[in-house]
């Protein structure tokens, strides 16, 4: 840890230093405790409580009986709806985001264009939530700009205000796909851009000297190298959509996807006649997320090989 010091007096002070350092190290441990305590109280305890609460009945006795909530058709349908929205937005978001990353290749990372794209992406990907929902109410809600334009153009019952005979598309689960894409595509740009930048110019030149075309460059070099990062990003996007709550809550007042079902379950105890459904749903979500994030970790490790 320390560099060798040649002179004798320095060596003696260094000897004294190590003894005080070892004594100090034992005291320095204390410095880690406040953060540790904070993380235990506000991260570990809530996480455990959330998942564990699913294993207790209304009188506080341990039980596995609540888990049958996961097999009730009402809950299963909401899980399926969550998976559906997540899958569609993850795939479309990943493809569109990758195309935007492609367009940004070769631009200066410190340039104005990239800083603006990065900042806009962060705003939409991470902090949009409720505001994004409002923007889409203004665009494709019942009184929205696009909806009203279509109505005035003579299309009184268009897919935006008359979707599946259930009224406005935006206030139904399939309609979530549109606003969700507005945070999925930016998240893709943020996560996939480093992988795209890992493509080295020399590989393109090597391909060209060997007589390859740009088509073979993409199919034989770039795509295989980018594949782990791309599928990793798809998983991350899936997880992101699966766990997001604010946008859906601002648009849909009843249930429909699992995060909304958790809210319903916490506000009215017995939705389907089983206690602590919120805990059971939380458990279900955590299991899905742990599987997704482990897969993401594996793919990231493969992708990292080419990013040095």
């Amino acid at each position: 840890m320390t560099t060798a010091v040649a002179s004798a007096p320095a060596a003696t002070t260094r000897g004294a230093g190590t003894s005080t350092r070892s004594r100090r190290r034992s005291a320095v441990w204390v410095g880690l405790l406040p953060f540790l305590a904070y993380v235990v109280i506000f991260l570990a305890v809530p996480a455990v409580l959330a998942v564990a609460s699913g294993f207790f009945d209304s009188t506080g006795v341990f039980t596995f009986a609540n888990l049958k909530a996961l097999t009730s058709p009402q809950i299963l349908n909401q899980f399926l709806a969550s998976f559906g929205v997540s899958l569609v937005t993850a795939v479309i978001g990943a493809v569109v985001g990758a195309i935007i990353c492609f367009a940004l290749m070769g631009t200066k990372p410190d340039g104005v264009l990239r800083t603006v794209v990065d900042s806009a992406s962060s705003v939409l990907a991470q902090f949009g939530g409720v505001m994004l929902a409002f923007a889409f109410i203004a665009l494709i809600g019942t009184q929205g700009l696009l909806t009203q334009t279509l109505v005035h153009a003579g299309w009184a019952q268009n897919p935006l205000n008359h979707f599946g005979n259930n009224g406005t598309l935006l206030y139904q689960v399939p309609g979530l796909v549109i606003p969700y894409l507005y945070f999925q595509v930016p998240l893709m740009v943020l996560t996939f851009m480093p992988a795209m930048e890992g493509l080295k110019a020399t590989w393109g030149e090597a391909n060209a000297t060997l007589g390859g075309t740009r088509f073979t460059y993409w199919t034989r070099i770039a795509m295989p190298i980018l594949a782990p990062a791309f599928f990793g990003s798809v998983i991350l996007l899936f997880a992101n959509s699966f766990s997001s709550y604010a946008t859906a809550a601002a648009l849909i007042s009843q249930g429909g996807i699992i995060p909304l079902a958790i809210k319903q379950a916490t506000s009215s105890e017995t939705v389907i006649g089983i206690a602590n459904v919120a805990g059971v749903l939380a458990l279900g979500m955590v299991i899905v997320m742990v599987i997704l994030m482990s897969a993401y970790g594996l793919l990231q490790r493969r992708a990292a090989r080419w990013q040095r």
């Binding site: 305890v45 996480a47 569109v96 505001m131 929205g144 590989w203 393109g204 060209a208 740009r214 601002a250």
Partner: protein, 301 residues
């Protein structure tokens, strides 16, 4: 000239071996080998993306400017709803929003303090004294991404019934929960700033020159970490202002929950504040981006 070449080599057998395409005189366009798109392709993609992403924002702004219902398909426009915000008569209607806004600002300050007083010293301590624990700390700070906020809040409900007993039920107590959500965002900029420096060498250099630990921290380490600390603080502010899930589950009034309430009674003013909030977050992150790139330029002369 190309006609001559074509006549001499009608089958096109003689071709340059080094490039993918023959270099024709008169074409100054550089050859592209790699992944870079041509300028035209780039412009087309980026313009389409910009239009698609700006449309909802434009619709939101259009919505805030609407006056009354459309008469025979013609919508009237004006700054009516903007003026109404500052009208003392209607200020009662926005009471809750201003209160929520105030609460969010207090939570912002406390959450930034949590990041600077709890997370930052721990990261420094781990970096300088317990480097083997770095992976553990990183893992802890990334957990809030794996466990969705909507799951954590189920656990926050019982935790907060205990917190209320200690600190009361004031809105600022939300900062403890928000601080956890912020961890991944705050950790990353500080960590990448630290990775670019060798803190151990820096601090030992300062110590060997006779500096106390206090001046090592205050005059060597913290100034070098300025960039990471600023970014972490700004991102924290943006996350707190955008936070909705925790506040609804714990029934506290913050900016976002008040916005949703207001949207139900007065959608126009709700939309105005949504535009403000989006622009504000964008500017915050733009500043972070500029801080980052300025630092990078300085690093690589």
């Amino acid at each position: 000239m190309s006609a001559v070449a074509a006549a001499a080599d009608p089958a096109g057998v003689i071709q340059p071996l080094t490039a993918g395409r023959p270099v024709r005189p008169g074409r100054t366009k550089p050859l592209r080998f790699g992944a870079e798109p041509s300028g035209v392709t780039r412009t087309i993609i980026l313009v389409i993306a910009a239009i698609l992403f700006l449309t909802p924002i434009v619709a939101l702004i259009e919505f805030t400017l609407r006056v009354g219902q459309p008469v025979e398909g013609v919508q009237g426009y004006g700054p009516l709803h903007y003026v109404a915000i500052f009208d003392p008569k209607s200020s009662g209607a926005y009471q809750e929003l201003f209160q929520g806004n105030g609460n969010s600002l207090i939570i912002c300050v406390i959450t930034v303090v949590i990041v600077l007083v709890l997370l930052l010293p721990t990261m420094l301590l781990v970096e300088l004294r317990f480097p083997r624990w770095r992976r553990v700390l990183e893992f802890i700070c990334i957990i809030p991404i794996t466990i969705p906020t909507v799951v954590l809040v189920v656990g926050f409900v019982p935790v907060y019934s205990a917190v209320v007993g200690v600190f009361g039920s004031a809105p600022w107590t939300l900062a403890f929960a928000v601080g956890v959500i912020v961890l991944p965002y705050a950790y990353r900029p500080i960590a990448s700033n630290m990775a670019a420096l060798d803190l151990i060498v820096l601090s030992e250099a300062a110590l060997s020159l006779g500096a106390s630990w206090g001046s090592v921290l205050g005059r060597v380490i913290l100034p070098n970490l300025r960039r990471g600390i600023f970014s972490a603080s700004f991102i924290t502010i943006a996350v707190v202002l955008g936070e909705y899930t925790i506040a609804t589950f714990l029934s506290r009034n913050v900016f976002q929950t008040a916005l949703v309430q207001l949207q139900r009674t007065d959608p126009y003013v709700g939309a105005i504040f949504a535009v403000f909030a989006l622009v504000f977050a964008f500017v915050l992150l733009l500043i972070i981006g500029r801080i980052g790139s300025v630092g990078r330029n300085r690093k690589t002369p």
